[in-house]
């Protein structure tokens, strides 16, 4: 999971910086009336690009969801009305996988967000010290972030291979003196999702760790000194100095991880199609959307999946922001 939080929005004691407008009318006066123009001009390239390459295509996808459309088919698209949506929710063959995928996404998010964030925080604290070569250690933990998820999936497929040649199985075999045999980590419904979670967290925790590390380093040392003078234990210091100091960053990081976790796709696709991953236990909504679109060539259905999913994510994000708002200056 990749996410970022520049340290500067960490401290909640910092007043929100209002946007700058020129209020003086002296030498700088002549720019005052033009701010709106400059603001607009500066925003235009990116916003236009976003509208052209994200907004319009998404609108197009919404339109497509009302049709029966096939990739490369000579048949004209046929108006289907709400049929794609009806199938998505009531046709057992279609809604079964879709609803299961939603559940899987939810499970993934509910586990990954706290686990990855917590682990990242722990690592950040561990790495927040002036040891020689601490930079090396930080880089080591950051390294997996640099790997494309498809490559991560390939490597972990070998590690989790169900034969006793798989790295994990042999390690367990050795460690348990032969008592633990080969286990099908990817194929067994009970551990399939857990395997995906482990490799996803492995890949993403480094990035969060670095951000939280930066956040930790913004906490003024004097606060810790003051706490020590007050004879606060380490746990108390953590609860009363560290956590509040890093709260903004933590919330930001958690929120972003949860949004990104809804996009889980690459690793699930690679492992289902080439690694024996239990499809039911691990399919995600984006996996459904992409396979429906490109393996079954059913563009209309895939678009419906996408639209429904987008609405759910928006709803969840709104709820999240409302819940978190009182504490978050975001």
């Amino acid at each position: 999971m990749k996410t970022v939080e520049p340290a500067h929005s960490v401290p909640s004691r910092r007043p929100e910086s209002p946007p700058v407008t020129s209020v003086t009318t002296t030498r700088a006066g002549r720019t005052r009336n033009r701010d709106w123009l400059h603001g607009l001009l500066m925003s235009t390239p990116a916003v236009a690009g976003l509208i052209a390459f994200v907004g319009i295509p998404f609108g197009y996808a919404v339109v497509l969801s009302f049709y029966n459309v096939r990739l490369g088919s000579p048949l004209a698209p046929r108006f289907f009305g709400l049929e794609q949506y009806r199938r998505l929710f009531t046709d057992p063959d279609v809604s079964g996988p879709f609803l299961r995928a939603l559940l899987n996404n939810l499970t993934f998010a509910v586990v990954v967000v706290p686990v990855q964030t917590g682990l990242a925080l722990a690592l950040a604290i561990l790495l927040n010290r002036k040891l020689k070569a601490i930079g090396l250690f930080r880089s080591l933990f950051f390294m997996p972030v640099v790997f494309p998820m498809t490559l991560v999936a390939v490597v972990w497929r070998l590690i989790l291979a169900r034969s006793d040649q798989g790295l994990l199985n042999s390690a367990l075999h050795a460690v348990s003196f032969g008592n633990w045999g080969a286990f099908d980590w990817l194929g067994d419904g009970a551990t399939a999702m857990a395997s995906i979670i482990v490799l996803s967290v492995w890949q993403g925790v480094g990035f969060q760790m670095v951000i939280l590390l930066a956040g930790l380093q913004q906490i003024p040392g004097e606060l810790y000194e003051a706490a020590e003078l007050d004879r606060a234990t380490r746990r108390q210091q953590f609860r009363h100095v560290t956590l509040p100091g890093i709260r903004g960053t933590l919330v930001f990081v958690a929120m972003l991880t949860s949004v990104l976790s809804f996009r889980v796709f690459d690793q699930v696709y690679v492992l289902i199609h080439g690694g024996g991953l239990d499809e039911d236990a691990a399919r995600t909504v984006m996996y459904q959307a992409v396979t429906t679109a490109f393996d079954q060539n059913n563009i209309g259905q895939a678009s419906a999946i996408t639209v429904v999913f987008f609405l759910i994510v928006v709803a969840l994000t709104l709820i999240q922001r409302r819940v978190v708002r009182p504490d978050n200056e975001d």
């Binding site: 319009i56 609108g59 197009y60 339109v63 497509l64 049709y67 029966n68 459309v69 096939r70 990739l71 490369g72 088919s73 000579p74 048949l75 004209a76 698209p77 063959d93 070998l158 291979a161 169900r162 034969s163 006793d164 040649q165 798989g166 194929g187 419904g189 289902i272 199609h273 080439g274 690694g275 024996g276 239990d278 499809e279 039911d280 396979t291 490109f294 393996d295 079954q296 060539n297 059913n298």
Partner: protein
């Protein structure tokens, strides 16, 4: 449609797409290369583009050599070859508009009908020489034929069976078939697995190429024979229900499912070659590696019979002419060269496949009578075509229908979940329903 008007149409399409998405889709969507899919004959000279899939290095080299020798053997036609990674090849062709496809195009056999449906392939009958056409094996012609026209011919076909390690089989006292006529039944096969398990250190004596994944074309190619041998089929008269989920098929799949305990996951691909398993259910492509590893201990056996006679797969990559080619004659000349004995022999030596031309097949050291892979040739000599599967025919062509992508996707998924422990009856019924639904959504994929 000449190219400038097509260009204008293209710009109009993009503009239209921004304003009226669906209108654009109807007018400009994927397969619109024009209503007529016959390639233009052209002058018979010039540069032609050729696309092929990038597979094993040895195959690629054989192909590149074929192109080189063709180019140097005559000066009128120059061939430019482009290789596209094999795993994404079909997707790439699907995603490419017909007007941008090359003059000569390779395609995976079962996808032929789909590409014809999408107006991406042109009939080759008028461009390929009569000699080439008559030299093609019956199976190869059947794979590329639809609506009375031929759209492709292959350099090679495929063979599927069970490789056995004679030493291990004899040590376990297993009686294995010596030919198609004394093929083992599914029950006998299960008994063999049990006997082998007793002598095997980890109890796993069978390899089914699990490392390839079943939710892929391997799933369909390798295991549709189970369906066929049980008397069912993937689709019958345009309907999957009743054919795919017939009781006999369900029970055959149950048997297949029960074999999982004997299967070595074979992640490294070497289970059979290294002697960890005694039996390997796979195609001709593993022959080179297996024969090198086992030498004279290698035996080639037919797939078990589930009741309706031994059945096996057929079909492989084939070559066709792009629908919008301007140089059909030159493309045909290249195909003639490609399907000549020298090139076919070189290619099949490289990949161990059965040649798809009569002359090369007869001369092949591997596939001739008495050769090590004689069984595969024998199987191919008893073709079933894709719809009339009788007890006596053996090599079944995968369904020749434009809806094949859905059939293979759904069957692969069902196979994958059955292997993972799901109930075969519901998995197959689900697949059948999905296939039928898809066919009805697409008006039966009738080719216009």
């Amino acid at each position: 449609m000449n190219s400038t008007s097509r260009r204008h149409r293209r710009t109009a399409c993009t503009g239209l797409a921004l304003a009226l998405p669906l209108a654009a889709l109807a007018a400009c969507g994927g397969g619109s290369g024009g209503g007529d899919t016959s390639a233009a004959a052209g002058s018979g000279k010039g540069t032609i583009s050729v696309w092929a899939h990038q597979g094993q290095k040895s195959e690629d080299t054989a192909l590149q050599n074929a192109v080189k020798s063709f180019n140097s053997s005559q000066s009128g036609i120059k061939v430019e070859l482009k290789l596209i990674p094999g795993n994404d090849y079909t997707k790439t062709i699907t995603a490419t508009d017909a007007s941008k496809l090359p003059d000569v195009m390779e395609f995976d056999g079962p996808t032929m009908a789909n590409f014809v449906y999408n107006k991406k392939l042109a009939p080759i009958d008028s461009y390929v020489s009569a000699k080439t056409m008559s030299n093609a094996t019956a199976a190869s012609k059947a794979q590329g034929e639809i609506g009375g026209k031929h759209y492709g011919l292959g350099m090679y076909d495929s063979g599927l069976g069970i490789y056995g390690n004679k030493k291990l089989l004899d040590a376990a006292g297993v009686k294995y078939p010596t030919s198609l006529s004394d093929d083992w039944t599914a029950a006998e096969f299960t008994a063999a697995l049990k006997a082998l398990k007793a002598k095997d250190s980890d109890g796993k004596s069978l390899d089914v190429q699990e490392n390839n994944g079943f939710a892929t074309e391997w799933g369909t190619y390798g295991f549709a024979p189970v369906v066929w041998s049980a008397g069912g089929s993937l689709i019958k008269d345009g309907k999957a229900e009743g054919a795919l989920d017939a009781p006999a098929v369900v029970s055959a799949m149950k048997t297949f499912q029960s074999w999982k305990t004997y299967v070595d996951p074979n992640t490294d691909g070497n289970a059979f070659a290294k002697g960890r398993v005694a039996l390997s259910w796979v195609g001709h492509w593993m022959y080179p590696a297996y024969s090198k590893a086992l030498g004279s201990d290698l035996v080639v056996l037919p797939l078990p019979d589930f009741g309706d006679g031994p059945k096996t797969g057929q079909g492989s990559w084939a070559w066709g002419i792009g629908a919008n080619s301007k140089n059909g004659k030159a493309a045909g000349a290249f195909l003639d060269g490609l399907l000549g004995d020298t090139n076919v022999t070189a290619m099949t030596t490289a990949n161990g496949a059965p040649p798809a031309t009569k002359t090369a097949l007869a001369a092949s050291p591997l596939y001739k009578k008495g050769g090590p892979l004689e069984l595969f040739a024998e199987q191919l000599a008893k073709p079933c075509g894709d719809s009339d599967i009788t007890k006596s025919c053996v090599a079944v062509t995968r369904p020749v229908t434009a809806g094949y992508p859905t059939i293979t996707a759904k069957f692969g998924d069902a196979l994958n979940s059955i292997y993972g422990g799901a109930d075969p009856k519901s998995a197959l019924a689900k697949a059948a329903r999905a296939i039928d639904q898809d066919f009805s959504d697409n008006d039966g994929y009738k080719i216009q």
